[in-house]
């Protein structure tokens, strides 16, 4: 193939985008609408997952040690726990710190107590990457020599594990359904748009055009429409997302510890390539396979 042929077919593809205005508009509207809905669903789901994850990370277990266990051994056990993959963070709380915190909570009731009643309460607060691993970790820590007691909230852990699974399944299900619907609608639009130009394809073939020569402008056209059709909702979503974040921060400041949203680029770093691949991919494959049906002349 000559390079001039490549550029000629590319130019024809671009011309076709403008020449077949109604087909272009219908395809753009379909692709944009599908990917816009997909983008909203994706943004909501990843944010929800992020909120659950953040809340989950706040759940900790507390490890208490045998009476009189030397600080060096406590430190060693802390380091041993921190080395585990399911552990994200380990915080040491000395007996004095524990009492300071508790006495602050007690307020006036703590007045007059001169000696630390929590002298044996030096502990490690252990935070997990994945709360579903809590039971397994507790079992492990309880077996370590020198550990007196491990405090945990089994109910919270189980609740988060359940919510997490639910969110994951719902996310996968919704994204799969939305993607299938998008692929179906977009392919249909492309198919109809190309089928009405069957005559054009037939004429090209009669004149002696190769399959590549006939197909290339349609494929370029499909890819251009797919590219624009996926870029439009991304731009729109970007601004909507920013406005939504601002709105939440202003109006729901009191829920800031719960509504922990993701920064816009954390969402778009995935959404941009996925949307572009879907848009351009469907444009490419939709045109490629639809034209193929008409090439047998």
């Amino acid at each position: 193939m000559k390079i001039s042929t490549f550029f000629y077919t590319l130019r024809q593809g671009i011309i076709n985008v403008f020449r077949n205005k109604w087909f272009t508009l219908a395809s753009l509207a379909t692709i944009s609408a599908c990917l816009f809905i997909f983008g909203i669903a994706y943004s909501l789901l990843v944010n929800f997952q992020h909120m659950v994850k953040t809340a989950e990370e706040g759940v900790s277990i507390t490890v208490f040690y045998d009476e009189g266990l030397p600080q060096e051994e406590i430190d060693l056990i802390g380091a041993q726990i921190e080395a585990r993959t399911e552990v994200s963070k380990v915080v040491f709380v000395s007996a004095d710190e524990a009492w300071a915190e508790f006495s602050a909570e007690l307020g006036e009731a703590a007045e007059g107590i001169t000696e630390n009643p929590l002298v044996n309460s030096a502990n490690h607060e252990v935070y997990l990457n994945d709360v579903s691993a809590q039971a397994h970790l507790v079992k492990y820590i309880e077996q370590i020599e020198g550990v007196r007691k491990v405090n945990q909230s089994e109910f919270t852990a189980n609740l988060f594990t359940g919510v997490n699974s639910l969110v994951t399944y719902v996310s996968i299900g919704m994204i799969a359904i939305l993607l299938s619907v998008s692929v179906f609608l977009i392919s249909n639009t492309v198919t109809i748009g190309i089928s009405v130009r069957k005559e054009e394809i037939t004429v090209m073939k009669y004149i002696g055009a190769t399959d590549f020569f006939v197909r290339a402008p349609f494929v370029f056209e499909g890819m251009i429409i797919g590219l624009i059709g996926s870029a439009l909702p991304l731009v729109l979503l970007y601004y909507i997302y920013e406005v939504a974040l601002k709105f939440l921060a202003e109006k729901f400041a009191f829920l800031s510890s719960l509504l922990v949203t993701l920064p816009v680029w954390d969402v778009f770093v995935v959404l941009i390539p996925v949307s572009l691949v879907i848009g351009v991919g469907i444009g490419f494959f939709g045109s490629f396979f639809t034209v193929r049906k008409h090439l047998k002349v």
């Binding site: 001039s4 000629y8 005559e199 004429v203 090209m204 073939k205 004149i207 002696g208 399959d211 020569f213």
Partner: protein, 248 residues
């Protein structure tokens, strides 16, 4: 306008077939439901001939055209066109083969969104002619068919006769050795019909083999050329300087 080179393709009909522009021997073709469309067709057309394939609707003319364009493949027999054995040709070789043919249709089949110049230039772009050649060849062929002044017009801005001239220009711009015309005057008034037939005659005088498929009695009788008559898929007559044979 005919090319003087012939493409070589191996096949049983090679030796015999290459003497002819078109050579069909013992060709049979049935429709999908098994009903015969063409039966035992033997037809030889030498380079530079002007031949009418005449017959009523349903006589097998369209099937014959499709076989010559390799849109369909015969069930049996041999077909050799421009040195290509159409019973053995590979699918990817078909576009190259078709570039040896110019084709015009009853309904012109122009690309509606493109102007006259682009419709004709399109045929040149397919064979990857340079823009320089295209700028030279297209105006030249448009002049030859009398449409030099209308190169910017879209097909719908032209009369039927003018559209058929564009189709002829497109068919001829690549200098084919054979021109296949499928009912070229079917949508034209008598004046345009006569003009187009004279144009075809001129094209033939320049060396191009012309095959006109028609059921237009007046046209066939006017031209006094070789007439091959088909009836129910069988050649019933093949006459030099023949006339149209009615079914009754």
């Amino acid at each position: 306008m005919a090319k003087d080179t012939k493409k070589k393709r191996k096949g049983s009909a090679e030796a015999e077939g290459e003497k002819y522009a078109i050579c069909l021997e013992g060709v049979n073709k049935a429709y999908e439901d098994g009903v015969p469309a063409l039966t035992d067709i033997n037809l030889k057309i030498v380079p530079g001939e002007f031949v009418f394939i005449a017959g009523e609707t349903g006589s097998g003319k369209s099937t014959l055209i499709k076989l010559l364009l390799r849109e369909l493949k015969a069930d049996s027999g041999s077909i050799n066109v421009c040195g290509y054995d159409l019973m053995r040709i590979k699918r990817r070789e078909v576009p190259k083969f078709r570039r040896n043919l110019g084709v015009v249709f009853q309904n012109f089949r122009l690309l509606k969104e493109r102007n006259v110049y682009d419709n004709v230039a399109f045929a040149q772009r397919i064979i990857q002619k340079s823009e320089r050649d295209i700028r030279k060849n297209v105006p030249s062929i448009l002049s030859a068919v009398g449409l030099a002044g209308k190169y910017k017009a879209k097909p719908k801005q032209l009369s039927g006769g003018e559209q058929q001239r564009v189709a002829l220009a497109r068919a001829l711009v690549n200098k084919p050795s054979i021109l296949l015309a499928d009912e070229p005057t079917g949508n034209l008034d008598p004046k345009n019909t006569t003009d187009i037939m004279h144009l075809l005659e001129k094209i033939n005088q320049n060396g191009t083999t012309v095959v006109v498929v028609t059921h237009n009695r007046e046209v066939v009788n006017l031209m006094q050329r070789r007439v091959v008559t088909l009836r129910k898929g069988v050649i019933v007559s093949d006459e030099e300087k023949g006339g149209y044979i009615d079914e009754d």
